[in-house]
Symmetry: C2
Subunit: 201 residues, 2 copies
């Protein structure tokens, strides 16, 4: 067994690469299909490895899921970090800032309702898979820090990021029920409205 002590860390370069491929495929699945669609067999098929490889490198599906969510967060936060770092330091209109807030919290590429659906299923999954909670919490904090930095650069320092994120999340979830594909648009409007009412206060 490669797994000394119970975990499953690869001991060879090839093994590491394979584990890598599995995690990457799982992260892709989590991001597109949600955690419920992320099964051993689905991951194995997506990664192009036999079923047994997924149980060889991860003690359980929960372990695999944790690695996948961790990876999905990294995959998404990398570009966002660059995006924030590239933000010019100048006062920006509420409407434009709203777009930036969406890019930071949701990622710039999550445009379709289906993508947003998977995004929020991931959060809710914390309830059924407690092992996911630490990484979800951590991700939340990283996003919050990024958002604070972004708002600071746009001349909105001191904004209540928790409230901003809450309005965004809540609006998306309501919009997903409508099912008209306008979730992101609605969320942007809601964030812009909140930003404007804040700056007028």
């Amino acid at each position: 067994m490669a797994a000394t002590g119970g975990a499953s860390r690869p001991a060879t370069a090839k093994g590491a690469a394979r584990r890598e491929a599995i995690v990457a495929a799982a992260a892709r699945l989590v991001a597109t299909e949600g955690p419920d669609g992320t099964s051993h067999r689905a991951v194995a098929a997506a990664a192009g490895v036999p079923l047994a490889a997924t149980t060889y490198y991860f003690r359980s599906l929960d372990d695999l899921l944790v690695a996948a969510v961790e990876r999905a967060a990294d995959d998404e936060l990398g570009p966002v970090t660059e995006l924030v770092a590239a933000l010019p330091r100048r006062r920006t209109s509420a409407d434009r800032v709203a777009g930036i807030v969406l890019d930071v919290v949701l990622g710039p590429d999550r445009l379709e309702d289906a993508d947003l659906q998977a995004h929020y299923e991931r959060f809710l999954a914390g309830g059924r898979h407690p092992a996911l909670r630490p990484v979800l919490r951590q991700t939340r904090r990283r996003v919050d820090a990024l958002l604070t930095e972004a708002l600071d650069r746009c001349g909105h320092a001191g904004a209540d990021t928790a409230q901003l994120v809450a309005v965004l999340d809540g609006t998306v979830i309501s919009a997903l029920v409508e099912g008209d594909g306008r979730a992101r648009v609605r969320a942007r409007a809601a964030v812009a409205a909140l930003l404007e009412s804040d700056s007028s206060a």
Copy 2:
């Protein structure tokens, strides 16, 4: 077959009672376990009927799920309607109003994180089960109307109910990730804060 034309309406009193029992059990399951935990077998066991009864009265699991979500909404909105109707018509402090908002939107009895988890899984389920969307939309609208009425009675007429609900939903979802059982408390604080900033504007 009882189902003339394809649907499955009972033709006898006993049949109606049985269908009733199934819907009631399914609604209970949806409210406590979430839609994913609501299977034919789980419902049959909870209702104390054989498995086949669930497929006899409902063409598919989706049909059963729709009936269950509809029923769950009715079960919850009834008490809330009475609660709102009993609200005295007088200006009320933001903090107290926040508690009322939570009672209306979440229901007065959904106190534990697990209950809230199931509540939001129900909304997200609309994405995977499009048949649920109409009833979810309808429920959303009923809650919004109730909330408008409640706020009016408390001297907060004209409040942005959509924004209020969004902050509430978003806060609960973030809090569920924390997993410390304080979701409802946090949401109440967030709603109170928003109400206060609104009235000061």
